[in-house]
Symmetry: C3
Subunit: 671 residues, 3 copies
């Protein structure tokens, strides 16, 4: 990270949103900047979808309007995150160069009329995007409004066409060197798939039956890398033009088509778009996990909430609104979990186009509206949170998560399609969230030093480096908890031969020989005396393993059924360290019991004891955040008296937290 | 309407069906006409699917069989509705001219083997169809059997291919003149969709994400217009050949792909195909609404039920049969609601092809069958209804319905996909139907003179002319009731800026700033004292609005939830006029209460008071129709004594209506 | 059958599985043969997916590894079923000859990366496959290990592309001779589908609406025949090379795309792949029906269970494991029902490719595993069953089943999609299975001599030969039971005109005029006095017929509803023969009652009286098989004392059969 943080010298929380002035008449712009200033907006993203305005015909440049926009914003003290418009090429690009259009696995070439109609594999697309990026950078690199660069938008476009075939082959050649190696690593002897040359290899297109899983897995890797190359060449062009501002692009949480671990050190600031679905019961915890992912991708550095919605989105089949309380909670939660900037899509609500019903900071009804009043209230609140800027979160717990493993575990031809890597991670995370325990997400194989507990909810792939780091952790006294169906495959997605999880079996003191789908009605688990805190009726479902303990204590066995009497939950003790294994997808109560026991054993407690349901507690830097997502008032005993940054109130002892309220407490001396 | 009605000098109800003699050996024809005569059939549609028989190879003409068919029918006193066979080109057309075949949004060119494999955009298709039409008209224009012309069949074929692209562009050029105008009206500045020329514009094909809604909306308009052009050029050719008979084509009720408001004055007689699904609880009311639509499309003139099924259809996944009572009710209901002709698909049940299991007047089992006896009974009944022919229905209530608004409201990227324009109209209509209140469907913007109540269940688009007509109605003392999520957009589908419904807010005395999806469990409505007839526990679901009353009385507010305490139902009184607004999709009981109150306030009552459940009451001309769709006998008090045309019975005072019975009462003097 | 059975001189049950050594390093092979020998494996199928290994580039031959494999196997006493590898061409074939790739109805050309990417219509594909087959046969025809030949694998690949169009037309020309005949037989006068020449006819591709059902039906016939031609030319090539071993391919039970009646006499041994889904309640009976189909396809000869899974499969969304008891039951059941060989897919579990999670005889965990111990136990058990080899099953009951009728009944445009031919056959079969009554499946039209009862659960097509055989059966005193919606159509799928079932109405003494979908809540059946054993509350659902009895006794009428009071179940008595008709899909209890009565009337009883629930009883040759699929111990009284081949135990009188147990009793003298 050689480039500056987006936060300026005087610390303040960044606040604003996407601003698309080219969609509005000139007179609107004045109202925009006036209302932005009133709301406390200090950062807007400009130009994300401006390609056809900036380059109305090939090679033409239309920068005058942008000059005026940037000057106007700057004159009102509003900084700019300037975007390269490469996410949505103008229709002329696809008309003149059909090969720039993406092609589905079924061979359908996607047309203009929406957005994203490009393949990252197309050199023609990339050259056009790059030429415009260079001119944009040259013109605005020194503009005083520009404090950040935003390359493209939500990279995620897949392509299975001939352009992709060419680049995929080149990627494979770089990876494997020769075709014999590819044949071996892909296991092409199965089903007679041997290739004579890289020229014969195709992206996974429509096929008569199940695809070769390694082919699919490599195509996912290639696709992520191909998009990263698009990003990187634009970033480099901006840097080459002399830019000193940070350069980034916006991530999308647990987005399935991009491996953000490989992208994270290619952006100067982690930025993320977050649209939690609050019709789901666990949305607050799930959103928190996304935010912890972002913090973890950046190695703990503050990140930017680049896009969210102030009210409803419009792309779900049914879109629930956000109350003001919810909108504030969503934003403060992000600050609590490391965000130094809170932005929205978008500033002014569109009247035309596919997002005309997507909420915005300034709604169709105008400034005299609940939404705009919420925006102003948020601007004020964020302004009060300036002391938090730059603060870090300390976590003693690590949770492993990996895109490659998720991908490999999602390939067809598996014991069950009911077990999803992210869903299982969410279930584990919710336990920690409700306890107020901070957790870092870690890439398998990364060092685990400093963590007292390491959780592995579901890591289908376990490579030697990861196994070694887990062993080292236990050896130095840490607690490791591994979930079912882990350690199944290697990085190629090939099953590891032997008793599973092959590379972890010795560490765990238990090994298996079968991953068995469980029947639709839950299977009882029978706790042993060793599981003192077992819930009343723990069960397993979805998947269970045929295990044999060799060194581990058995905490529970399977009740009647295919695995009756065999170990289901085990714990091996190694000095002060311990290694737990869950040989089944266990019920929520069982999971909570296991994780609570494991954390307690590792000497880890939450930020506050006995959190009321729905109250989230996080320490960031000097601040203690309490956010109440529930709908029943809760009482919390503060460890030390302090001052609430949002209200200025002095708080001490037992305080009532109203539903929807956020308290940001600066305790004692810091206050 | 310069052309004669299909009804001849001596009034009689037309009765018959599609007749496809080319599918049967010659000897069968004699049995056909004998049995037709026995059943009272007086009109058959011939030639709908005869193209490959009439023109077995390009340019060839094979009319001899048709000469014989028409002569035979005429000799038995059966009139003919002669069809142009353009709905189903022969396979050779697609083989010789693949560009005549329709293409899906995914680029799949549809093949022969079914029917409808043409694109209306193809000049080659149209020339072939037209040439045959000209020859057909020239040959039969003076044939004494031919009393009507039937162009094509159930126009509804979409095309997204290159032929369509060419015609769509031409249509757009005619509409917008220059590309800059299109760019503005389509809002192409959103998502970088700016076009340089019409040549770059495409039909909405498969895209990476949501389509530009105005592009989609214009494509729907173009598609309807393109099909209308196909119809019109054949109609003109028939007329040019000297035809004096009425010319029409068959509509399909609330068919989503054609705007029948723009078609209605292009046909001499409104004709409709109706296949109600009686497995649905409200099928009788829903069928009535379709019939009122047909009457309204024709400006109140009698219409033709061109196709229905005498028993089961075969194209649903599971097809329930019709009892004789149901078959009679379906037909008499159409007469009650303005039909002067009752026809079926088809005369003789096919033994081959895709409709071999679709019921027909003469089933596989032959004349000794329940179905054929039902047909004969119906023929007899319709014959008795001759006095009704030409009769009109008087309605004091208008209900707005518009295809364009339906289309725009259906575009993706909206608050909820659970609110459908036709479904909401059906819910409103059912209230009127159960009250026995006659209603005309009106096109928004049409004059509303003479209506004492105007209902607007859901009009997503409200243009100034429509707003003005509603204002004028209230000003002259009428009652207007507007449903939720109305007045959202203009004709481009762009959201109207300001407090909604922008053009109606002043009239309604209430305005809104948010269309909010409601949670899946219903939201309570809290009636105020002003809503005296409120039901016990009214609720709202799907969508509610954030409203502020300014001049209207608040009849109900929202209970706990996102909109708690805010107005949900309002009524503004303007002299003797009143303007109601429903700011939510309200429960059936609430809707019935509101509409009943509004009608009562407007001095409107049903044909008969206190109709038993399931009994439909309609006045057409001098006749009072009572149709019992329920399954429990009901008692009705007749306003005046009279004679039942169907039984000849004299009826007076309280009469019992048996389930399935139809009474057609000619009262007092008329009887 | 001029060729020898796969069973060698010394009778033994064949035992083994697919063996794919080319997927493993050489050193693994030694372990393989050692463990095979330990498990008692005596037959493995080699080479199914070896094309790209055998012919890594066009025309190249790489046989050395196969030489070694065959020698190694032979040296360990393991016989080989040698496969032609034509099921999965190498990628180079599709790259060099794209026309060899199959095309979907939507025009999507399927790519390599899976398997099966060929069209049987491609001469290029067939030539390549044939050339390799010839060389393979020439090389190994005399190899002592090779005891059987296995052509291709699971034939089932459809193609709708231009290659298929050419071959389909040729097939049609052979069938119909001239286009006028095709037009008549396809009913192309419906919907204007008249063809001028065979060159205009296409496979059923994507169309605007429902396909011509006869076109679809003929395409199914053509597809089955086209695949058979592929099989047959390879078989002939092997025979021409001098092979004396039996040649076969593997069937897939009630597979919808191949008519195995036309294939059965083209294979020397019937071989089948069976993957019952034991999450379904009736899987044991359904599996038994598949096995009886295989026995019947072979005219009663022993058959081979060519593929099954020892534990879970991996291609369902959720895959339940098999217990050891289940694995043994599945295998012994096949032997009970005529199998002389029990094989698995596959020997060693793959670690790569789409089937890496499909269970295998030697799992990832290795020999120290429950699965491998099960394999060894099975090997031992099968070895004890040698006395059963070659034994036949005698059935006095025939059940009609036909692919053509199933296909025609599945065409769109029908009364209901809820009535499936195979599902109805399964319902009938389950009654017989639970009674322990042996049944042969017969092709309609085949002689029915020797059967005392003939069941026709659902035969949509009834041709004159079938009707005549049923008449003859009744005439000679047999009992015939015909299910609803039978005798509807002729072999063209055209509806037969007249009262249904036209060709059977006289025999049955009842005739109908309507096939009516029944409402979703069951319709009561009202038994008459003639149905003495009627259950308490019989019902009908899905479909009922409007019947009129003329000679038959009415056993039940329909309760309230569309068919109220009309006959639903009838029986006509003709001398000692009787003909039953079920005019509705009746409830399980009603069906059991009817079939039990009918069998009793025909003097047919089960192998044992009063079988406990879940206990299957079969006599094969001298052996009485008792297999307990339930989970509650059952008691059975043995008719005669005997010895259990599996345990060596002497058994007599009442014995308890434990859940999961199989008893193979050799009674009295034979023992």
């Amino acid at each position: 990270m050689t480039h500056p943080d987006p936060a300026p010298a005087r610390p303040r929380v960044r606040f604003g949103g996407d601003y698309n002035p080219e969609q509005w008449p000139r007179e609107t712009w004045d109202e925009d900047v006036t209302l932005m200033a009133r709301a406390g907006v200090n950062l807007v993203t400009v130009g994300v979808f401006s390609w056809s305005t900036l380059e109305p015909s090939p090679g033409e440049r239309n920068f005058a309007w942008l000059d005026e926009v940037l000057d106007l914003l700057h004159s009102h003290g509003i900084d700019v995150d300037l975007a390269t418009p490469s996410a949505s090429p103008p229709p002329w690009l696809g008309i003149l160069h059909p090969e720039t259009l993406p092609v589905t696995a079924d061979g359908v070439r996607l047309a203009a009329g929406s957005r994203n109609q490009f393949t990252p594999a197309s050199a023609v697309y990339r050259e056009h995007a790059l030429a415009l990026t260079r001119d944009l950078a040259a013109r605005y690199v020194d503009h005083p409004a520009v404090v950040m660069w935003h390359v493209g938008n939500e990279y995620g476009q897949l392509d299975h066409g001939d352009e992709a075939a060419r680049e995929f082959r080149a990627w494979l050649q770089r990876k494997y060197g020769d075709i014999a190696t590819l044949n071996r690593e892909w296991g092409t002897a199965v089903w007679s798939q041997g290739y004579r040359a890289f020229e014969e290899v195709l992206p996974p297109r429509a096929m008569p039956y199940l695809v070769n899983p390694t082919q699919n897995l490599d195509f996912r890797r290639y696709s992520s890398d191909m998009m990263l190359a698009c990003y990187a060449e634009q970033r480099d062009a901006i840097r080459e033009a002399g830019a000193t501002q940070p350069i980034t692009t916006n991530f999308m949480g647990f987005f399935p088509h991009v491996d953000y671990w490989t992208w994270a050190d290619q952006v100067d600031v982690i930025a993320d778009d977050q649209y939690p679905d609050h019709s789901q019961p666990h949305s607050a915890a799930d959103a928190a996990m996304v935010q912890d992912l972002m913090r973890s991708l950046g190695g703990g550095r503050p990140w930017l909430l680049m896009e969210q919605a102030i009210n409803a989105v419009s792309w779900r089949p049914h879109n629930l609104p956000k109350s003001r309380a919810q909108a504030l909670l969503d934003s403060y939660q992000a600050v609590a979990r490391g965000a130094d900037g809170i932005c929205f899509f978008q500033w002014r609500q569109a009247t035309a186009g596919a997002e005309r019903h997507h909420s915005a900071m300034l709604p169709h009804a105008g400034e005299d509206s609940e939404v705009f009043r919420t925006v102003c209230a948020l601007g004020e609140g964020l302004s009060a949170l300036a002391p938090v800027v730059g603060g870090r979160i300390e976590a003693r717990v690590a949770m492993a998560f990996d895109w490659e493993s998720w991908w490999a575990a999602s390939e067809p031809g598996r014991p069950t399609s009911l077990l999803d890597t992210v869903e299982q991670a969410q279930r584990w995370y919710r336990v920690l969230w409700s306890l107020g325990v901070a957790v870092d997400l870690v890439r398998p194989g990364a060092p685990l030093d400093g963590y007292d507990a390491v959780l592995v909810p579901h890591s289908y792939i376990v490579e030697p480096a990861f196994a070694a780091s887990l062993e080292a952790a236990v050896a130095r006294g840490a607690t490791v908890v591994v979930g079912p169906y882990s350690g199944v495959a290697d990085a190629r997605g090939h099953i590891q031969v032997g008793r599973s999880p092959v590379l972890l079996a010795e560490l765990l003191g238990v090994s298996g020989e079968e991953w068995a789908g469980l029947p639709s009605s839950p299977t009882a688990l029978v706790p042993t005396a060793a599981w003192s805190s077992a819930p009343a009726s723990p069960t397993a479902s979805i998947l269970g393993e045929r295990l044999r303990a060799s060194g581990a204590d058995v905490l529970a066995t399977f009740g009647p059924g295919h695995l009756a009497g065999l170990p289901a939950v085990t714990r091996r003790t190694v000095g002060t360290g311990s290694a737990w294994y869950l040989g089944a997808v266990v019920s929520d109560d069982a999971l909570a019991s296991v994780l609570t026991d494991a954390l307690t054993g590792a000497g880890i407690a939450g930020v506050l004891p006995d959190l009321p349901a729905g109250v989230e507690a996080v320490r960031r830097g000097d601040a203690l955040f309490l956010l109440h997502h529930g709908d029943v008032p809760g009482r919390v005993t503060l460890p030390r008296p302090g001052r609430d940054l949002l209200t200025g109130e002095e708080l001490a002892g037992e305080v009532e937290v109203a539903p929807g309220r956020t308290i940001v407490l600066i305790e004692g001396d810091h206050a």
